[in-house]
């Protein structure tokens, strides 16, 4: 069975091609082909998972050789898949959440004339994402990495008839490109250090490499992860990526693609284990992003952008955990899985709200939707409870473990990293409650033409399933450390470490901060009227509302100098390089122009020329003969 795991990638890929090539003929049934492809990938994944469960832990990693890819002496690379507990976790997450979102999209995109194309891109994304997580070498991973980037670009710009949406797609693509440079450079460093880019060889040889080499590779991998996962300082594209249809935001920009960076770090664990400096940087990047994202989330009035900021912040938690080393890897992936469920569920809920409110995203125009949309309210509420980290919902088990792990260590690190994680939990509670109360509670602030209604079953059923997952998945996976044991063959067995503060104190502090955040949000937004226009607010609020001016910073620090540089280069190219060639050409043309005059077609002038020549020759002979 494990040998047919290539079907996981092939089925959605073929479906994507069929849908794209069939054209309008497939409009009537194309979306169900897309759903079927995703669902069959899930079934294949599930069967492989059941088979894997039957094996003892150390035998669960299987390599599937596909074909020889780059035969050579210096670099000999085969294309193959690596099926182990880590990639299996992703396969199940991607195909399960992906299939639910496919089903949801059938109804959500019902009135879009290009629904078939949408499903083709979604299938393409699923195929590329599965390739990313199943690849057995960095190069094949890179193919999937680029594939998801392409799918993300196509889907963000799906409504590219709107200019700003097309711009948002470009922005995401270009920001990702910067990260891709990191991955390419990392592969180059691996090739020069180990002479290979496949996981097995690189990870076997990693312990023998020097810390400096590993740190360089690790930092480059971190750059790649920052681009893909919207981590500081490459985070600016994620907010604009919300231009895509909401199911895309749920699947790509919340549950799966943006977590690829975390996967990359965890997968490259043997490299990071030998590079403590790189690990600290990873953890710090995660800590900075989790606070930054939370602060942005607190100020946004756009429902989807607030959720995007929250995604950024939660991935910051995962990065922080991944940067902690072996004690954090399993928790990073655990949080990734639970986050995939509750955030996808909340995005689908946001889509349901938008569906009901004529695509309105301004939360100041919502309010009191709980009466009109009971299913959306309850499912969103379960996601909200999960992200808050209240027991017994999923987020409690995953996030609390990360906070505990962040407090393990010596010196300044546990206090800074743990402190950030702890404060982040309080901030998360505030902005998620603000979002929840502004949308579903308080007084109705709808415009006159808005008549909210519950979404059709095709949309609510996936939301219900994801909400159930958000509520109970954490408890199921955490009981008896099931998930940690499941990942042990990949992340390694870790002895229990004691945090610098006692665990009950940490749990208590987290819960107090969370409840304080919720209470504050209720006081400000739940129990009181919400202004229709955002108040100007303090400098801090303005800063956060404008994404910490990251666009301006990028423009001033990167875009403008880049434009000046390219303009200078274009000028130099035009004047020096092209100039030399053009001037030379112009010289030859002038010479031709001059000699053209000699060919005037007048026979007698030719004769005169010949005579003059003859006389000159005669003179030379006569004079020279003397």
């Amino acid at each position: 069975m494990l040998s047919v795991t290539w079907l996981l990638i092939a089925v959605p890929l073929v479906s994507a091609f069929v849908l794209l090539l069939a054209g309008r003929r497939a409009d009537a049934y194309g979306h169900w082909v897309g759903v079927g492809a995703s669902a069959s990938a899930f079934v294949v994944g599930l069967i492989a998972f059941v088979q894997m469960l039957g094996l003892p832990g150390e035998e669960r990693a299987t390599s599937v050789h596909l074909s020889s890819w780059i035969p050579g002496t210096e670099l000999n690379l085969d294309a193959g898949l690596l099926v182990d507990p880590l990639s299996m976790t992703f396969v199940l997450l991607i195909t399960f959440v992906g299939t639910l979102i496919h089903i949801y999209s059938v109804a959500y995109m019902e009135h879009d004339p290009d629904r078939r194309r949408f499903f083709a891109y979604l299938n393409m994304f699923v195929a590329a994402m599965l390739l990313l997580v199943l690849a057995d070498s960095f190069l094949l991973l890179f193919v999937g990495w680029e594939g998801v980037g392409l799918a993300s670009y196509l889907l963000i710009g799906f409504w590219n008839q709107r200019n700003e949406y097309a711009t948002a797609a470009n922005k995401a693509f270009i920001a990702n490109r910067i990260g891709d440079i990191g991955l390419i450079v990392a592969m180059g460093l691996m090739f020069s250090t180990f002479g290979a880019v496949d996981f097995a060889t690189v990870f076997d040889a990693a312990p023998q490499a020097t810390a400096a080499q590993l740190t360089a590779i690790g930092l480059m991998l971190l750059l790649a992860a920052c681009g893909k996962s919207a981590q500081f300082p490459l985070q600016s594209w994620l907010g604009d990526a919300m231009a895509g249809p909401t199911p895309v935001s749920a699947l790509i920009h919340a549950a799966t693609m943006v977590t690829a960076g975390v996967y990359l770090i965890v997968r490259s664990a043997p490299i990071f284990n030998g590079a403590p400096d790189a690990q600290v940087v990873v953890a710090l990047v995660g800590a900075v992003t989790l606070i930054l994202g939370a602060l942005i989330g607190m100020a946004k009035d756009d429902l989807k952008k607030a959720l995007a900021a929250s995604t950024m912040s939660q991935i910051g938690y995962m990065m922080l955990a991944a940067g902690l080393g072996p004690i954090g890897y399993a928790f990073a992936i655990f949080h990734l899985v639970t986050h995939g469920f509750f955030k996808a569920g909340m995005f689908l809920g946001a889509g349901s709200v938008m569906h009901a409110m004529n695509d309105q995203v301004n939360m100041r125009r919502f309010g009191a939707l709980r009466g009109a949309m009971v299913v959306t309210w309850v499912t969103f509420g379960l996601g909200w409870l999960a992200i808050l980290g209240l027991p017994p919902f999923s987020g409690f088990y995953s996030k609390d473990k990360i906070i505990e792990a962040a407090f393990v260590g010596e010196g300044w690190q546990p206090w800074v990293l743990g402190g950030a994680a702890l404060v982040g939990a309080g901030l998360t509670a505030f902005y998620m409650s603000r979002l929840f109360f502004m949308t579903f509670h308080g007084k109705a602030r709808w415009t006159d033409d808005q008549h909210p209604h519950e979404s059709p079953l095709l949309m609510t059923v996936p939301m219900i399933i994801l909400a159930v997952g958000s509520a109970f998945l954490g408890l199921i996976l955490a009981s008896g450390d099931r998930f940690t044991h499941w990942l042990e063959p990949v992340t390694g067995h870790v002895e229990h470490h004691e945090p610098v503060l006692p665990v009950p104190v940490l749990i208590g502090a987290t819960l107090v901060l969370v409840i304080a955040g919720v209470a504050l949000a209720w006081l400000k937004y739940g129990g009181r009227d919400v202004a229709l226009e955002a108040p100007t607010g303090s400098l801090a609020a303005i800063t956060a509302r404008n994404d910490f001016f990251q666009d301006s910073v990028n423009r001033a620090a990167l875009q403008r100098p880049g434009q000046h540089l390219t303009r200078t280069l274009v000028y130099l190219d035009a004047t020096v390089v092209d100039g030399a060639v053009n001037k030379q050409a112009r010289g030859w043309a002038g010479l031709g122009e001059a000699s053209r005059r000699l060919q005037n077609g007048q026979v007698r002038s030719y004769a005169a020329t010949m005579l003059v020549g003859l006389v000159i020759v005669a003179l030379i002979i006569v004079v020279g003969g003397r």
């Binding site: 053209r596 005059r597 000699l598 060919q599 005037n600 077609g601 007048q602 007698r604 004769a607 005579l611």
Partner: protein, 99 residues
């Protein structure tokens, strides 16, 4: 008689011939100029043969005559063809080959 006089006569003839070629527009006259130049050359060849007491120059003169005869045939044929094409034998008119 000083054979050098023949050389001088030949150069005068050559000058007249080349002037005819360069100055006259009528193709027939220009053609006659060419013939005159050839014959001037012939005359000087014969004169030099005489001066040096060798036969080489005279032999060369015969070759020139043969070539000139052939050239007349070709040249007149071209002039007739040009006349048929454009009802004129002016040398200045056919200028299609100018660059």
């Amino acid at each position: 008689m000083n054979p050098m006089n023949y050389v001088i006569l030949a150069s005068i003839l050559f000058a007249i011939g080349s002037a005819a070629v360069l100055l006259r527009r009528n193709a027939i006259v220009a053609f006659m100029g060419v013939e005159l130049m050839l014959n001037a050359a012939n005359l000087s060849l014969v004169a030099f043969a005489r001066i040096h007491d060798q036969l080489d120059g005279q032999v060369m003169a015969f070759f020139v005559m043969v070539v000139a005869a052939a050239e007349v045939v070709v040249g007149l044929a071209i002039i007739i063809a040009v006349f048929r094409a454009r009802q004129s034998i002016s040398l200045d008119e056919p200028a299609e080959l100018k660059g």
